[in-house]
Symmetry: C2
Subunit: 354 residues, 2 copies
């Protein structure tokens, strides 16, 4: 394999010294970039873009051409696994993802296959390989998956939800059915991420977008428990390097100690917690990723620099910080503001690493 020219991101995840704080942005390949919209239009619908390794590679690389980012992230969707389970994923304009066959009963759960990552999901592995080749060692490539709980919410609700009525009804009324579903999803996510790692992903992140809608006890039982199992089953070394794992639970600020103990290398933070408090509570057990409110990118360059500076100061000196937004970059952000953000991090963080 080609030698990695910029390994700041991987080093920071392992709390090793770096010259400046590395940065990437969740959803950095996306609708805020005009060039993304061009490729997206060329692909047709959203899943066709995900399923075309050449085009997925193209949009993965696009933000790296504009900004000095320290990592690339595979362009894909969190719903590839349920899609490969034949639930009939489709996207309704303005409505988000939908499933033709939601999962509602024990029989539905039993009928679900655990997809072979090198079968129906092989397009993802082809995209990983294509991107690695195209990156040519410039920066590391991040693979990812949705968490079992987050995937289950979409599968049971049949799409996005505001109140999670059906999945919570299942959780409180038929917990054993939900556990069976989550178990199948944990198996699927483990083999899916291991296949991404085998194909060339140099770090992986598990997105638990909806863990924060649970009570503390339910979060442990129905979300963190399964993420922890996945982490235990992952290939942690490849190409002679550690493959770090990041766990990100949106609205999980109250539970970061428990997340830090789940076996991963890094806890992703949204913006509802001060990173100084997070570091104090977690100590140096794991690295921290985050945590600027993505909406700051609507403000002036001066304000963006001010917020970057504040977060760098809050984290303080020493290794173990990967800068990021606290959630995906919004579609209406001016790309020039993303440039200010990325450059400010590199420029303003140097003093913290001397």
């Amino acid at each position: 394999m080609t030698e990695l020219k910029n390994d700041r991101f991987l080093r920071a995840l392992l709390r090793e010294p770096v010259d400046v704080t590395p940065v990437w942005m969740m959803r950095q390949a996306g609708r805020y970039l005009p060039e993304y919209k061009v490729t997206r239009a060329q692909a047709g619908d959203f899943m066709s873009l995900c399923m075309n390794p050449e085009l997925a590679c193209e949009v993965t690389i696009q933000p790296l051409k504009r900004f000095p980012l320290d990592a690339a992230i595979l362009f894909s969707d969190i719903l590839t696994i349920p899609d490969a389970m034949d639930l009939g994923l489709y996207f309704e304009t303005g409505e988000g993802p939908r499933f033709k066959k939601p999962v509602r009963t024990e029989a539905d759960v039993e009928a679900l296959p655990v997809p072979d990552p090198n079968g129906k999901l092989d397009y993802v592995m082809q995209a990983v390989k294509t991107i690695r080749h195209e990156l040519n060692g410039r920066v590391p490539l991040i693979g990812f998956s949705g968490s079992p709980w987050t995937l289950a919410t979409y599968m049971v609700e049949g799409g996005s939800s505001k109140d999670f009525r059906r999945v919570k009804e299942m959780m409180y009324s038929q917990p054993q059915v939900l556990h069976q579903l989550l178990d199948k999803l944990a198996q699927s996510v483990t083999s899916y991420l291991n296949a991404q790692i085998a194909a060339g992903a140099q770090a992986v992140q598990i997105f638990d977008t909806w863990g924060g809608v649970l009570s503390p006890a339910c979060y442990r039982e129905f979300s963190l428990n399964y993420m922890s199992r996945i982490v235990a089953g992952l290939t942690r070394e490849n190409e002679g390097r550690r493959v770090p794992v990041i766990l990100f639970t949106k609205n999980g600020g109250q539970w970061i100690e428990q997340i830090a103990d789940a076996g991963a290398d890094c806890v992703g933070l949204d913006w509802t917690i001060d990173i100084s408090e997070a570091r104090q509570r977690i100590g140096n057990r794991v690295a921290l990723q985050g945590n600027m409110d993505p909406s700051v990118l609507y403000a002036s360059p001066a304000k963006i620099r001010e917020e970057v500076s504040r977060i760098l100061e809050q984290y303080g000196t020493g290794a173990g910080h990967v800068f990021n937004l606290g959630h995906g970059i919004h579609q209406f952000v001016n790309p020039d503001h993303a440039a200010v953000f990325v450059e400010a991090i590199h420029e303003l963080s140097a003093p913290y690493h001397q």
Copy 2:
């Protein structure tokens, strides 16, 4: 005034001894009740129901006829103040509230009137008086308002929002304009709640539905700060009794110490925090209200009782607990399950008050 026959709710808010833990449910007068739907249909649209004191009284009383609740809450909407500011509130089916004239500029903010609670909002005061008369001392009546930040989100966005793009853009780019708006709203909410108290509200709750989408620093500056100012301006005694104030920030679990220090008598909790942890962190400074996940009401009566029992045990012995859901009751809940919930609290809490 008629003597209050059941004052458990008021006593618990002041951390005074009670025989059993009092309970009410956020949105207890609402769409999950068939009789509500009948009255709603009779009224025409939603705001017509709010604006008709007789019908608002009728739906306020409806849940009390079914369940032995320990408080009534004024039936109204959190957007009555912006509506009285002439922003053209209307409700689009399935879309939630909308404003014809959203507030976007400094000029928009300057043009906003501070509504006279006994002028355009007099229908609310008439409803309070009508309900008090109808309650005839059975249980206390709660008045309420949205928090300035929460009202501002609707006014600036022009309705509900997922990403709070425009209000956050204002917050980060033109904070002085947002402060001017919040200042006007804090004045309006203060006089609105004081008028409700004068009309007969025996406790008031401020609903900060959207404080949890802010960073810790922004929450303090743009939400808590204004709630604290309101609390300082409220009439705290009426009819020879203390008028307790409850602050409820959804997704505010990370900031409960600060909320507890804002001058109110009680902190409302959603279900993402263990009430045992909340009590430990806050001590006996204020009472706590909450905090069962409303989705538990989709489960079996046995499971509902189990969850009630768990929360009672978590709070432990001694005064200062008002039982509630962690958010409004869902529209698809079976009313019989709400009955199980309310009865379980009275039945199972007695040992904690001996």
